[in-house]
């Protein structure tokens, strides 16, 4: 019966926006649904797990536990970033416990099997008995670390854990094309350009809220003075991303009127435009002429999400100490905006406990991008 009801739920979501309902409560509350979502939404797609800036130097390794999956992000001696399952091929022991620099090899703390930074199994001490380090049954070439498909775009580390998604460039070709002008170096300046928010909500509500501009005049009144609702437009790309754009972006100014540098070579559109998209499933992105940001949503559980926010600049000169005050002002502004959204996404989460909630209805005029995300989730569950 439950399965039958679930299919009926999804069919309602897949209707046109005028008649559709949103995803039902169980998508936000039910631990069993959360487990299904892990596999169908996160493991089968290109999911963001962190940022390349966190492994800046060759040999840097950073363990990441994402939805219970023990992973490790490593920058090899060749400068390439790779992601592996963070476990030894021998007894499945966790290999890297803390972020740090691997000087030589990754040594399992249990029986000391050693791996190179590219995952190759380098040593199997005493595997053939004391002082004998080979055994005919142990083929080292076949027992390297298990690599997880990964891709870095806009400094975000994406993984396809199941290994069965189409290539990232293919899945997200339209996003790459839309923001091709921003395919330029990004500069991150460390702790003054990042923060983390712990939010008592299901991760999807953070996406849904981010997608639409409908709430802006009510939740972010500070934007009203220059960025009115009618200055925004929808961004809708089925199966890939949705979000909103503004036509009246104004640069932040410092006390002496200073601004951040523009990304070189941008077309005139970006003089006043800025765009904000949710790249499915779990990345919220923003681009402006003079800076960008990315939010990786980490689903901690059905009711809890960690939002990892990182701000990037487009000119190396903006990464220096002379721009520190302006960067701090920019980070503080964004933090206020993102914190203003917390009561909304937490309120909607609490609302999902209402027994008779039917997933809600969408404004056909204003909620298209949100409904597009619901459709995508429903499609993943229907596979």
């Amino acid at each position: 019966m439950d399965q039958y009801l679930a299919i009926e739920d999804l069919e309602r979501v897949l209707q046109p926006v005028e008649t559709a309902n949103g995803l039902s409560n169980r998508h936000y509350l039910d631990p069993e649904w959360f487990e299904i979502e892990k596999r169908k939404v996160f493991f089968d797609n290109w999911t963001a797990i962190g940022f390349a800036k966190d492994v800046p130097e060759n040999g840097d390794a950073r363990p990441v536990e994402f939805l219970g999956q023990p992973l490790v992000v490593i920058r090899g001696r060749d400068g390439l970033l790779r992601v592996f399952q963070n476990i030894c091929r021998h007894r499945g022991m966790i290999l890297v416990k803390e972020p740090g620099r691997i000087r030589g090899a990754i040594r399992c703390p249990y029986h000391s099997w050693c791996y190179d930074l590219d995952g190759a199994l380098k040593a199997t001490p005493h595997v053939g008995g004391p002082g004998h380090n080979t055994h005919e049954a142990i083929d080292r070439d076949a027992l390297g670390l298990i690599e997880v498909r990964s891709h870095v775009w806009r400094d975000i580390v994406f993984v396809n854990i199941s290994g069965n998604a189409r290539p990232f460039e293919e899945v997200h070709a339209k996003a790459l094309a839309r923001w091709r002008e921003f395919e330029q170096p990004l500069f991150h300046t460390g702790a003054d350009s990042g923060f983390r928010l712990e939010v008592a909500t299901n991760w999807k509500l953070a996406v849904e809220n981010y997608c639409e501009s409908y709430h802006l005049p009510w939740v972010h009144p500070g934007l009203n003075s220059y960025s009115r609702l009618e200055d925004h437009y929808h961004i809708e790309e089925p199966d890939c991303f949705s979000g909103q754009g503004t036509l009246v972006y104004r640069q932040l100014k410092g006390d002496d009127g200073e601004t951040f540098e523009d990304a070189p070579g941008l077309s005139d559109k970006w003089d006043t435009a800025a765009e904000y998209i949710a790249l499915y499933p779990n990345v919220l992105l923003g681009v402006h002429r003079d800076h960008s940001f990315a939010i990786v949503l980490e689903p901690v559980g059905p009711h809890d999400t960690a939002e990892h926010v990182e701000i990037y600049y487009h000119a190396e000169s903006d990464a220096g100490p002379e721009r520190a005050a302006l960067r701090a002002k920019n980070a503080a502004l964004w933090k206020v905006v993102f914190e203003e959204d917390i009561f909304v996404v937490e309120g909607m989460q609490r609302g999902r406990s209402a027994l008779h909630f039917d997933g809600g209805r969408f404004s056909p005029a204003m909620d298209g991008p949100t409904h597009m995300f619901h459709r995508w989730i429903a499609t993943q569950f229907s596979r």
């Binding site: 090899a105 040594r107 050693c114 001490p125 380090n133």
Partner: protein
């Protein structure tokens, strides 16, 4: 000279507690050389293995010397 295993143990425990991989590689390497000099190749290869692994983890150049000895003795 064959090292006293008790003194080696004490030094190894201290290095292990300090997380000093370079010191562990050195201690095991010295013990291995001593056992090799005395003709006890099995015990030497046990210690060369220990030395090799810690040197490998550290990215220390001695790793290659230990590896070469283990290979010569068909242990790697």
């Amino acid at each position: 000279m064959i090292p006293t295993l008790a003194s080696l143990d004490t030094a190894v425990v201290a290095a292990h507690a300090a997380g000093d991989g370079a010191r562990l590689a050195q201690l095991y390497g010295e013990a291995a050389d001593d056992f090799a000099s005395s003709g006890d190749i099995d015990t030497a290869c046990f210690f060369y293995t220990q030395a090799y692994v810690h040197a490998l983890e550290q990215g220390a150049p001695e790793a290659e010397r230990y590896a070469a000895i283990l290979r010569e003795n068909a242990r790697l």
